[in-house]
């Protein structure tokens, strides 16, 4: 088991192997993610039953929750990539760190906007400086900070080192986002979906939510692979395998 993980780590750490691997995965990953997302959203937005108190306005959950969870997981992935990039100086980790940021930032923004639109009809306000909302806003700023830091430093390796540190430190904020609703008094309610134990959402509403979540996560993964491929080609443009690839008729 450990040996398999180690082999994967070394193989995916090689730009050539990563390029070949992603070429094989992407033609499947992208369509599957889009189909799942379309099915989940159509089911949730059009066919799922109405909610007893909120009526139809709860349906924004099918965009809000997938986007928020994607933004949080993407940030954790950036933290892990940052750790690998800092300690092992692995080039692919630096590439991943850069590839993860833009889509994650978009998801964090989508989460904030849909949350505000949902808050008005349910809570009666677009925004409160509540711990959950404020920490989510900080998550968006962290994403933007990482993108800015990477574009501000010209040398990609130097840029990656600075961004890795910010990515790792920012993971503390992800913990605050997750547990703010349990540790502090907030306007935002606690989590509905639970990994352990029963989720407090009816099955007819839960399945479309899980499908749209999975679809959006896979779409994020596909986007990361596409960005990472471009970045790999750019970084390795002087390497023999890239020249061969480009010169192929």
């Amino acid at each position: 088991m450990w040996k398999t993980i180690k082999r994967w780590y070394h193989q995916l750490g090689s730009p050539v192997y990563f390029y070949r691997f992603s070429s094989a995965v992407l033609p499947w990953l992208l369509p599957i993610s889009l189909v799942l997302l379309a099915v989940g959203l159509a089911w949730g937005l059009a066919w799922a039953p109405v909610e007893r108190y909120q009526g139809d306005s709860y349906r924004i959950i099918y965009i809000h929750v997938p986007a928020s969870s994607g933004a949080l997981m993407g940030y954790i992935a950036m933290g892990v990539a940052g750790l690998v990039a800092l300690v092992w100086r692995m080039k692919m980790a630096e590439v991943m760190l850069k590839a993860l940021a833009p889509f994650g930032a978009v998801l964090a923004a989508v989460s904030l906007v849909t949350g505000a639109l949902w808050g008005k009809p349910t809570w009666g306000t677009y925004w409160q400086w509540d711990a959950r909302m404020t920490s989510m806003l900080i998550l968006l700023f962290l994403y933007l900070g990482i993108i800015a830091l990477q574009s501000a430093i010209r040398d990609p390796r130097q840029a990656a080192r600075a961004a890795s540190l910010l990515a790792m430190v920012g993971v503390i904020n992800v913990v605050i986002v997750k547990y703010s609703v349990e540790w502090l008094q907030t306007l935002h309610q606690g989590s509905t979906l639970k990994v352990i134990g029963e989720s407090s959402i009816d099955d007819a509403m839960k399945w479309p939510l899980l499908i749209s979540m999975l679809g959006l996560w896979l779409l994020y993964a596909a986007n990361v692979l596409m960005r990472a491929r471009t970045e790999v080609l750019n970084r390795e443009r002087r390497a023999g395998w890239v020249r061969k690839l480009v010169n192929r008729p």
């Binding site: 039953p49 109405v50 909610e51 007893r52 108190y53 909120q54 709860y58 959950i61 750790l83 800092l86 300690v87 092992w88 009809p121 349910t122 809570w123 009666g124 306000t125 409160q128 400086w129 509540d130 711990a131 790792m168 430190v169 993971v171 503390i172 913990v175 605050i176 609703v181 349990e182 540790w183 502090l184 008094q185 907030t186 306007l187 935002h188 309610q189 606690g190 989590s191 509905t192 639970k194 990994v195 352990i196 134990g197 407090s200 959402i201 009816d202 007819a204 509403m205």
Partner: protein
């Protein structure tokens, strides 16, 4: 592991652990300012300041909502099981305002048992179910279905209800 990497790993993890502890302590020290509202217990016990603009939150007590039929004046009691006080508000309440559900009010505490609200926000819990399911649960006498009993709302917003049994454990 190669010793240089090991040293880097230890250094990076030490910095992270230090920062995490620092942030944890800061949040802990500032939690009264980070908490969005005072709980009824804090209001009744005197922890919340009188005559200051602030937010309070709690569950609306069943049967406590009294409306003036001529005006928009409404008075209701909120509780967290450890304290109860009255809130007076003049204006339109949010759609999700109902007895047994949580609210957050922005305004001034006039005395230990009376709060003058300028804005009332509805909290909603993390339970989502279709109306038919709730009807079926109510018919079957299941307490989890009735949204108005106040004991079912599954609050994880920090209300210290004695009987919030379905509070998530994670």
């Amino acid at each position: 592991m190669n010793p240089v990497r090991k040293q880097r790993l230890i250094l990076v993890l030490a910095i992270l652990a230090g920062l995490a502890v620092a942030v944890g302590l800061a949040v802990y020290a500032l939690r009264q300012n980070i908490n969005l509202f005072y709980t009824p217990q804090q209001v009744v016990s005197g922890e919340a300041p009188v005559d200051t603009k602030m937010r309070v939150g709690g569950l609306v007590v069943d049967g406590s909502v009294r409306r003036n039929p001529e005006t928009l004046d409404v008075t209701f009691a909120v509780t967290d099981g450890k304290g109860t006080f009255d809130i007076h508000y003049q204006g339109i309440l949010p759609d999700l305002f109902r007895e047994g559900q949580g609210i957050v009010a922005n305004g001034t505490l006039i005395s230990r048992d009376r709060f003058e609200a300028e804005e009332v926000l509805a909290k909603h819990d993390e339970t989502y179910m279709p109306p038919e399911v709730q009807d079926a649960l109510e018919k079957a006498g299941h307490p989890g279905g009735a949204g108005k009993t106040g004991s079912d709302s599954g609050y994880s917003g920090g209300y210290s209800e004695s009987d919030s049994g379905d509070r998530p454990a994670d």
